[in-house]
């Protein structure tokens, strides 16, 4: 226990590493559909603000205008009542018009959401407690590959995400690129996304999915077609064999300890499927579904005590010595 605490002591140093803000925001938009959604949001919010102000002006006026005293409350001025009736009818008619405008506007933006093209890139995303499994499809089945919690997409191309819930309901949401869509067991969904600008966009599960709903983030990295192709080629290849002695020792430990029973590292005997594929884990920006930036230190911290960092997740605490921990983290960090 004390050893575990000691191992954790370098954690605070990791926290400020990821600096850039506003990368998961419906107001900071870089995807085709998110851009039009933002326009809609601004239009609707502005209209509603005007409506609210008008109501408040009427209310304040009603309260502050000079009132005749009302000794006999039941006596009502008929002329006043008629004028008020006209005012109320006009106000209701205005409400109906605003509402109709919103409904029509909403209908057309809804239709725009579901447009799909022919050369769309299809990516299958499965939501699991509490990480994302991402499958890319190549021209042939051997070109397919799997990764986790990080999705690379080419800029300017429509991506069709096939969304499948494998355990409970999750929701796929990258606010800077598009609205959300649920992943529901037994009901596959689709979501079309197009990034207009290169960048790294954070997404997060938006449907309550159990203990670690809060730590179920992922990243979408939009890059040029050339960079994307380069990345995809690298991802297709099996894992690199360790070159230095420490990483080689780490590989041995990884394969002989419980790690390999759940995780897969293509090109080795590790073929587990119940946990994220680690073939190129070193190349990913984050580990633990957006928990920490990938460094050797964060990998070591994560392996040393996953249940303190992300309580309730499915990674067990595997007892490792200090040396074992160092070499395993060296090995994983080397899996670029």
């Amino acid at each position: 226990m004390i050893a575990a605490v000691k191992r954790l002591s370098f954690l605070p140093a990791l926290l400020p590493l990821a600096g850039c803000g506003g990368w998961q925001s419906a107001m900071d938009v870089h995807g085709t559909s998110a851009i039009s959604l933002k326009q809609l949001i601004i239009l609707v919010v502005a209209t509603c603000s005007v409506v609210w102000m008008l109501v408040m002006i009427a209310l304040i006026r009603a309260l502050t205008r000079s009132h005749a005293s009302r000794l006999t409350p039941t006596v009502v001025d008929r002329g006043m009542a008629r004028r008020m009736a006209i005012a109320v009818i006009v106000a209701v008619a205005a409400t109906v018009m605003v509402i109709t405008g919103f409904t029509v506007g909403s209908f057309f933006s809804t239709r725009a959401l579901s447009a799909a093209g022919a050369d769309d890139l299809t990516i299958k995303v499965s939501g699991l407690q509490w990480w994302w499994n991402v499958q890319y499809f190549g021209a042939t089945p051997d070109q397919n590959f799997v990764t986790a919690n990080e999705i690379h997409i080419p800029v300017g191309r429509t991506i069709r995400f096939q969304l499948e819930g494998d355990d409970v309901i999750h929701s796929f949401w990258v606010p800077s690129l598009a609205g959300k869509q649920d992943l529901i067991p037994g009901r596959p969904n689709e979501l079309s996304v197009r990034a207009e600008r290169a960048g790294m966009y954070r997404g997060q599960c938006a449907e309550f999915c159990g203990l670690q709903h809060a730590h179920m983030a992922f990243f979408v990295i939009a890059e040029s077609q050339a960079e994307f192709d380069k990345w995809a080629d690298a991802q297709r290849r099996p894992a690199t064999q360790p070159t230095d002695a420490e990483a080689a020792a780490g590989q041995q430990i990884f394969l002989s300890k419980p790690c390999a029973a759940c995780h897969a590292v293509r090109g080795t005997k590790a073929t587990g499927t119940s946990a994220p594929d680690l073939t190129h884990v070193g190349s990913r920006k984050y580990i633990g579904a957006g928990l920490f930036e990938t460094t050797r230190g964060s990998l070591a911290a994560w392996i040393a005590d996953p249940q303190t960092l992300k309580p309730g997740n499915n990674m067990p605490l595997v007892p490792l010595s200090r040396e074992e921990l160092l070499s395993v983290s060296a090995y994983l960090a080397s899996l670029k």
């Binding site: 226990m1 419980p258 309580p311 067990p316 605490l317 007892p319």
Partner: protein, 186 residues
């Protein structure tokens, strides 16, 4: 009024330990839990002291049983044992335990493996995972359902769920024969 409170309390006090979720097991306790004492023939024995100190969490705690069920599918138990009714490996539901229904025996079977094809999971699972899985398997084969037992899966159904004591429903006159030289015979 006071009667209602009392009644609810009685019903629930029995239940509260079943619901606690121990998400992290301290490594020293985990290694202590590994120290089971087995009889020379590998059947029966005594769990470590700490197991009782913890109040036998792997038999009665709903969260552990549920985790055990998850591990059953993640570690491919169904390849040989199917849904518990057996196949290549023995059935858990036929009313016959080759090595007895005690937790330590099941724990030892998983950790160390058994003759005729049961592999050892010592290097594939952590100690608490093995205990969780053992607790689940004991529940699966129990003749009377535990209150804390997990329920059916969101899958195709091939047998009644664990909380309905499938072993009692599917009890056979004899063991589903897998290896005639193994374990006791009727």
């Amino acid at each position: 009024m006071r009667l209602i409170v009392l009644l609810i309390c009685i019903v629930m006090l029995g239940g509260c330990e079943r619901e606690e979720r121990q998400l992290r097991l301290d490594p020293p306790i985990a290694s202590a839990l590994d120290e089971v004492k087995l009889m020379p023939n590998g059947i029966s024995g005594a769990p470590p002291e700490v197991y009782f100190a913890l109040n036998r969490p792997y038999e009665t705690n709903a969260y552990n049983l549920d985790q055990g069920k998850r591990l059953y599918s993640w570690f491919g138990c169904s390849t040989c044992h199917a849904d518990g009714q057996g196949g290549i490996g023995p059935s858990f539901l036929d009313g016959w335990w080759y090595y007895g229904p005690e937790m330590v025996s099941i724990f030892a079977s998983i950790r160390d493996g058994r003759p005729h094809g049961m592999p050892a999971f010592r290097d594939k699972m952590t100690t608490d995972e093995i205990w969780q899985l053992a607790g689940y398997i004991q529940t699966l084969g129990a003749y009377s359902a535990k209150t804390a037992a997990p329920s059916r899966n969101d899958d195709k159904q091939s047998r009644p769920a664990e909380n309905r004591a499938p072993a009692a429903i599917l009890f056979d006159q004899g063991p589903t024969p897998v290896h005639p030289d193994q374990g006791p015979t009727p």
